[in-house]
C-alpha cells in the first residue's frame, strides 16, 4: 500500500518523540544483543583504539627525533668556526618537517613526502626520504589508522547494521504490523537512524575519547589547544559522513525488493566509494593535470638555472648604480664588495627559476586535488578524505606550506650572508666572519596555517559534503515516504 506523503518532516510532537525514542531503543537493543554485532563492534573498536595508540607512539618518536635534529642543526650552525660567509651559506642548515599532532588520527600523505631538506646556497633542494620507502609492500593496502577506521571500516559496519532496517521487516511481515499501529513513517526513519547512531556512538565515543587523551598526552610539544578546533571539526566531518552513509543505507533498504538485494547494492556502493573512486579520481586528475617525470623536471630546471644572461644584465646595472652612488671610476674602488651583489643576484635569479618550476609542480598537485574533490560528487569519501587530511595537517597543501616556509628561511640565510660580504669584505682580501654573523640568522620557526586557511582551501569539499548530506537525507525520507509494506 504505497502512500505518497510528500512532507514527512512535519512539526514534531512529544508523542512522536516518544515513538522515535522507542524505535531507536528497540533497534539499539536488538543490535547490542546480537552476538555477531558485538564481535564486529568490538573488532572495530579495538582496531580504532590500537591504531590510535600506535599513531600516538609513532608521533612521539618521530616528533621527538625531528625536534632534536632541528635543535642540533641550529647548534651546528652557530658553532661554525670563523669562515667566509659564503662557505657558511654552503654549509647551510637542515629543515626537518615537524609532524602535525593530528597525524595521530590521520597521517595522510606523510609517509609519501620527504622529511628533510638541506638548505644550502644556490639550490632549493627537494625534501628527501619518504618514510614509505623504508616500509614494506603491505602498507600499500592502506595503513590502519583511526581515520581509516572512521572512513572505511565504520561505514561498512553501518551498512551491515542498516541494510535490513526496512527490507527485513517487510520480509518478516513486521513492517505491515508497524504501519497498522499508525507509526508515522518519519518517526520510523528517525528511530531507525537513531538506533544506528547509538551503535555507531558506542564505537566512536571511546575512540574519540582515546583521541582526546592521545592529543592531551602530547602537550610537551606546544599547547594542544591550538589543535582543538581542528580536532573538533574533524569529528564533525566524520559524523556527517556517517550520517550520509546511514541515510543512504536506510534509503536503499526502504526501496529494495529484498534485504539480500539491499545488502548487495550497499556493499557495491561501499566498494565503489571506498576502493574504486579514490583510484579512478586520482587517474582522472593525473590525466587532466599531468605532472612531468622527475627526469624532465630536473633537466628543465638545470637548463634554466644555467642560463645566466639575465643575471649578467642585472649585474651590469647594479655595477653602474654602485659606481654612480660612490662616485668612483670602477666598482672595485667602491667601499663595498661587489661579489656580495653578484652572489645575491645569482640567488635572486635562481629563486625565480625555483619558484616557477616548483610552483608549477605544486599547482599541478593542487589542481589534481581539486579534480578529486569535484569527483566527490560521485563518491562522498573523496571530499571527506580531503577534509580529513587537511584538518589533520597532513595533505599536500600543508606540505607545500612547510616547503615554502623552509625555502623562505633558506633565502633569508643567503641574504644575511651575502649582505655581510657586500658590506664588510673587500675584493681580493681574505675575509672571515664569526659567531656574531651566524647568530644574525634567526632560529627557524614554522607555524602551520590556521583553521581559516584550511577552510578556505577545502571550501569545495565542504560544499560537496553538505550537498551529499542533504541529498542523502532527501533520498532516505523519499524512500520511506514511498515505503510499501510488501
Amino acid at each position: 500500500m504505497p502512500t505518497s506523503n510528500g512532507s514527512i518532516w512535519n512539526t514534531c510532537t512529544t508523542e512522536d518523540d516518544i515513538m522515535i525514542g522507542r524505535i531507536a531503543r528497540k533497534e539499539f537493543l536488538e543490535t547490542v544483543r546480537d552476538g555477531r554485532f558485538r564481535v564486529l563492534a568490538a573488532v572495530v573498536l579495538v582496531l580504532g583504539l590500537g591504531s590510535m595508540a600506535a599513531g600516538w607512539s609513532r608521533y612521539q618518536d618521530v616528533q621527538g627525533q625531528h625536534q632534536e635534529a632541528q635543535a642540533a642543526t641550529r647548534t651546528q650552525w652557530l658553532n661554525q668556526p670563523a669562515k667566509n660567509p659564503h662557505s657558511a651559506a654552503h654549509y647551510g642548515m637542515y629543515a626537518f618537517k615537524p609532524k602535525s599532532r593530528l597525524s595521530i588520527v590521520d597521517p595522510g600523505v606523510d609517509p609519501y613526502v620527504g622529511v628533510s631538506a638541506w638548505l644550502e646556497a644556490h639550490r632549493q633542494n627537494e625534501f628527501a626520504y619518504r618514510p614509505a620507502q623504508d616500509g614494506t609492500a603491505a602498507q600499500r593496502f592502506g595503513e590502519l589508522t583511526a581515520a581509516e577506521g572512521m572512513l572505511v571500516l565504520l561505514p561498512l559496519v553501518i551498512v551491515l547494521l542498516s541494510f535490513g532496517a526496512f527490507a527485513a521487516e517487510r520480509e518478516q511481515g513486521t513492517l505491515r504490523q508497524l504501519m497498522s499501529l499508525g507509526v508515522a513513517r518519519k518517526d520510523l526513519l528517525m528511530g531507525k537512524a537513531l538506533g544506528v547512531a547509538g551503535v555507531v556512538a558506542a564505537i566512536v565515543v571511546p575512540v574519540t575519547a582515546a583521541g582526546v587523551l592521545a592529543l592531551a598526552l602530547t602537550s610537551e610539544f606546544g599547547s594542544p589547544l591550538r589543535d582543538a578546533s581542528r580536532a573538533g571539526l574533524l569529528v564533525v566531518i566524520y559524523l556527517a559522513y556517517h550520517g550520509i552513509i546511514t541515510a543512504v543505507a536506510l534509503g536503499v533498504s526502504a526501496r529494495a525488493r529484498s534485504s539480500r538485494l539491499a545488502l548487495v547494492m550497499l556493499l557495491a556502493l561501499w566498494f565503489g566509494n571506498t576502493l574504486m573512486a579514490p583510484r579512478l579520481a586520482a587517474d582522472l586528475a593525473a590525466a587532466w593535470h599531468p605532472t612531468p617525470s622527475a627526469f624532465e623536471f630536473q633537466t628543465a630546471l638545470e637548463r634554466e638555472l644555467a642560463d645566466q644572461t639575465e643575471v649578467r644584465r642585472s649585474l651590469e646595472t647594479r655595477r653602474q648604480e654602485i659606481v654612480k652612488a660612490h662616485n668612483v671610476a670602477t666598482v672595485e674602488e667602491a667601499p663595498v664588495n661587489f661579489s656580495g651583489v653578484s652572489l645575491q643576484e645569482g640567488e635572486e635569479h635562481a629563486n625565480q627559476v625555483f619558484d616557477r618550476h616548483y610552483g608549477r609542480l605544486f599547482d599541478a598537485y593542487e589542481a589534481q586535488q581539486r579534480v578529486v574533490t569535484l569527483a566527490g560528487a560521485a563518491a562522498p569519501l573523496l571530499p571527506v578524505r580531503g577534509l580529513s587530511t587537511s584538518l589533520a595537517g597532513t595533505d599536500i597543501a600543508h606540505h607545500r606550506d612547510f616547503v615554502r616556509s623552509a625555502e623562505e628561511y633558506r633565502r633569508r640565510i643567503q641574504r644575511v650572508m651575502n649582505d655581510d660580504i657586500y658590506r664588510n669584505s673587500r675584493a681580493g682580501v681574505v675575509y672571515t666572519a664569526g659567531p656574531e654573523l651566524w647568530a644574525k640568522v634567526p632560529e627557524f620557526r614554522y607555524d602551520p596555517p590556521g583553521l581559516g586557511t584550511v577552510l578556505a582551501q577545502q571550501g569545495w569539499s565542504l560544499v560537496v559534503l553538505a550537498a551529499w548530506l542533504v541529498a542523502a537525507c532527501v533520498f532516505a525520507s523519499r524512500g520511506v515516504a514511498r515505503l510499501a509494506a510488501e
Binding site: F96, L160, V264, A294, H399
Partner: protein, 479 residues
C-alpha cells in the same frame, strides 16, 4: 542428473541479470587496470630511454671534447676540464644505473611508483646517489593504483562471492530447494553442479579477459623468452588458486544454511578481514614492533660525521693513504688539487661513520619484512600481492636486488675513477668507464619463491572445500 542440473543452472544464470552485471564490471575493471599498468610501464620505459639518450650524448660529447683538447683545438677552465678524473667521475661523465621493467610489469604497478627505478651514479657518497625519487602526487601514492593487481586482489574475489553467496539459500528462500531434493539427487551433487557451472562461466570469462588484457598490454606470447611464459603460468596459477580459496570460502559459508543476506554479510566481513584489515594490521604490527627510525637520524649522523671529517681533512687524507697505499702518489706534484683528495678521504670517512646508522635501518626493515611474511600466511590477499609483485618484477625483492647491484656498481665506479684522481692521471676516454647492467634473477628462482605460496593457497582452498563439503551433508533443507 548432473548434466540436468548444469543445464538448469545455466538457464537460471541466463535469466538473472546480477551475475552478468558483475561480469561486466569485472571485464571493465580488467581492461582499465591493464591499460593503466601498460601506461605506467611505458612511462617508465620512456623516462629510461630519455635518461640513456642524455647519457649517450653527454659521454660522446665528453670524448669529443677530450680529443679536441688533446689536439690543442679547445681550451676549458680547470673546473670544467673533461680530462680531470675527479670532475668527470663526480659530475661530467656520470652514468645511470637502470632497473628496466619486465615484460609482465603491466600486471602490477606494485612498489615501482614509490621506489626509484634509476639512479645517477657518481663518485660521491652512495647515500647521495640513492636519494632519487620519481615525481608523483603523494595523494595518489596513498590511494594506490587501479592496476590489474588491484582488480585481481579486490574485485575478483567479490565477483566470485557475488556468484556463490546464495548457492543454496536462494533456492531455499524461494521454496524450490525441498522440491529439487525430492528428486533422486544429493545436496552435494546439487552444489557440485551449481559450483561447476559457475566455475565454467567464470573460467571462460577469465580466459577471454586474460587474452584481452594480454593483447592490450602488447605482450607477445610467441616471444622466445621462457621467463615470460613461466611468469604467465605462475600468474595464471596464482589467479586460479586465489579464486579457488574464495569460492571454497563462499561454499563453506553457504553450507551453514543461513539466509542469503546473512551469507552475504558474513562473506563481506571475511573479504574485509582478508583484504583490508589483516594486511594493514600486519603493517601496524611491523611498524610498532620494529619501527624504522626517521631518516632524520641518518641526515644528522651524516652531518656530524662530515663536520668531524672536515676538521680532520688533511689527517684523513694521510690515513687514507695508509689504508690504500697503492693510491699514494709517487710525487705530490702529480697529485691533483689537495681539495678533491681531501673530499674523497672525508667522504670515505663519513661513510664509515654512518654505517652503524645504516645498519639499524637495514635491520629494522628486514625485521619488518619478516613480520609481513608471517602475515602473508594469514591473508591470502597479502600473499597474492607478494606473488604478483615477484612475478611482475615490481615487488620489493627485485628492487632490493637492484639496490644491492647498484651499490656494487658504485664501488666499481669509484674503483675506476679514484685511482686516476690520486694518480693525477688525465682521462683519455670516458666511454671505457664501467657500465651498469641489471642482472635479473632467473625465472626458476622467482618461481621457487612463488611456489610455497601457490601450494599453500591450493591446500587452503582444498581444505576449506572439504570442510564445506562435510557441512553440506548436514545442510538444513527446510527451516
Amino acid at each position: 542428473m548432473f548434466a540436468r542440473i548444469l543445464r538448469h543452472e545455466w538457464r537460471m544464470l541466463l535469466a538473472d541479470p546480477a551475475p552478468w552485471v558483475l561480469l561486466a564490471v569485472l571485464a571493465a575493471s580488467i581492461g582499465y587496470g591493464t591499460l593503466n599498468g601498460v601506461r605506467w610501464t611505458r612511462f617508465q620505459e620512456q623516462t629510461i630511454e630519455r635518461a640513456r639518450a642524455e647519457e649517450r650524448e653527454r659521454l660522446a660529447q665528453h670524448d669529443r671534447d677530450l680529443q679536441l683538447i688533446a689536439a690543442g683545438e679547445k681550451k676549458v677552465a680547470p673546473a670544467a676540464d673533461p680530462g680531470n678524473a675527479d670532475s668527470a667521475g663526480r659530475r661530467l661523465a656520470t652514468r645511470y644505473a637502470v632497473l628496466p621493467p619486465l615484460p609482465l610489469a603491466p600486471l602490477t604497478v606494485g612498489q615501482s611508483d614509490l621506489l626509484p627505478y634509476y639512479f645517477r651514479i657518481s663518485t660521491d657518497s652512495r647515500e647521495a646517489a640513492l636519494a632519487a625519487t620519481e615525481i608523483e602526487n603523494p595523494h595518489r601514492l596513498l590511494s594506490g593504483r587501479f592496476d590489474l593487481a588491484f582488480v585481481l586482489i579486490y574485485v575478483y574475489p567479490l565477483f566470485i562471492l557475488g556468484l556463490a553467496y546464495n548457492l543454496l539459500s536462494a533456492e531455499k528462500e524461494q521454496g524450490t530447494l525441498a522440491l529439487a531434493l525430492s528428486q533422486p539427487v544429493s545436496v552435494r551433487t546439487l552444489v557440485a553442479g551449481k559450483v561447476t557451472l559457475r566455475l565454467l562461466v567464470f573460467l571462460v570469462a577469465i580466459v577471454l579477459l586474460a587474452g584481452m588484457s594480454l593483447a592490450a598490454a602488447g605482450i607477445d606470447l610467441s616471444a622466445p623468452e621462457t621467463s615470460l611464459r613461466l611468469g604467465l603460468w605462475a600468474a595464471a596459477a596464482a589467479v586460479a588458486v586465489y579464486g579457488l580459496f574464495w569460492l571454497a570460502l563462499a561454499v563453506a559459508v553457504t553450507a551453514f544454511g543461513r539466509p542469503s543476506a546473512t551469507n552475504a554479510a558474513v562473506l563481506a566481513a571475511c573479504w574485509l578481514l582478508f583484504t583490508v584489515v589483516l594486511p594493514s594490521a600486519g603493517n601496524l604490527v611491523a611498524n610498532t614492533l620494529y619501527p624504522v627510525p626517521s631518516r632524520v637520524a641518518l641526515v644528522q649522523g651524516m652531518r656530524v660525521a662530515s663536520d668531524e671529517a672536515n676538521t680532520r681533512g688533511s689527517q684523513l687524507l694521510a690515513k687514507y693513504y695508509e689504508d690504500h697505499p697503492e693510491l699514494a702518489p709517487d710525487s705530490v706534484e702529480r697529485a691533483m688539487t689537495q681539495a678533491s683528495l681531501i673530499r674523497i678521504a672525508t667522504t670515505a670517512d663519513i661513510e664509515r661513520q654512518i654505517q652503524p646508522v645504516l645498519d639499524t635501518f637495514g635491520r629494522q626493515r628486514a625485521s619488518q619484512r619478516r613480520v609481513i611474511a608471517g602475515f602473508t600466511w594469514l591473508s591470502p590477499a597479502l600473499l597474492m600481492q607478494h606473488m604478483l609483485g615477484d612475478i611482475a618484477g615490481t615487488g620489493t625483492h627485485r628492487h632490493e636486488r637492484f639496490v644491492e647491484q647498484v651499490a656494487r656498481f658504485h664501488e666499481e665506479w669509484r674503483a675506476y675513477f679514484l685511482p686516476r684522481v690520486f694518480g693525477g692521471v688525465r682521462l683519455e676516454r670516458v666511454t671505457d668507464a664501467p657500465q651498469f647492467a641489471f642482472e635479473d634473477e632467473s625465472a626458476p628462482a622467482v618461481l621457487d619463491r612463488t611456489l610455497p605460496g601457490l601450494v599453500f593457497l591450493l591446500m587452503l582452498g582444498l581444505g576449506i572445500s572439504v570442510a564445506g563439503g562435510r557441512a553440506l551433508s548436514r545442510y538444513p533443507i527446510v527451516g
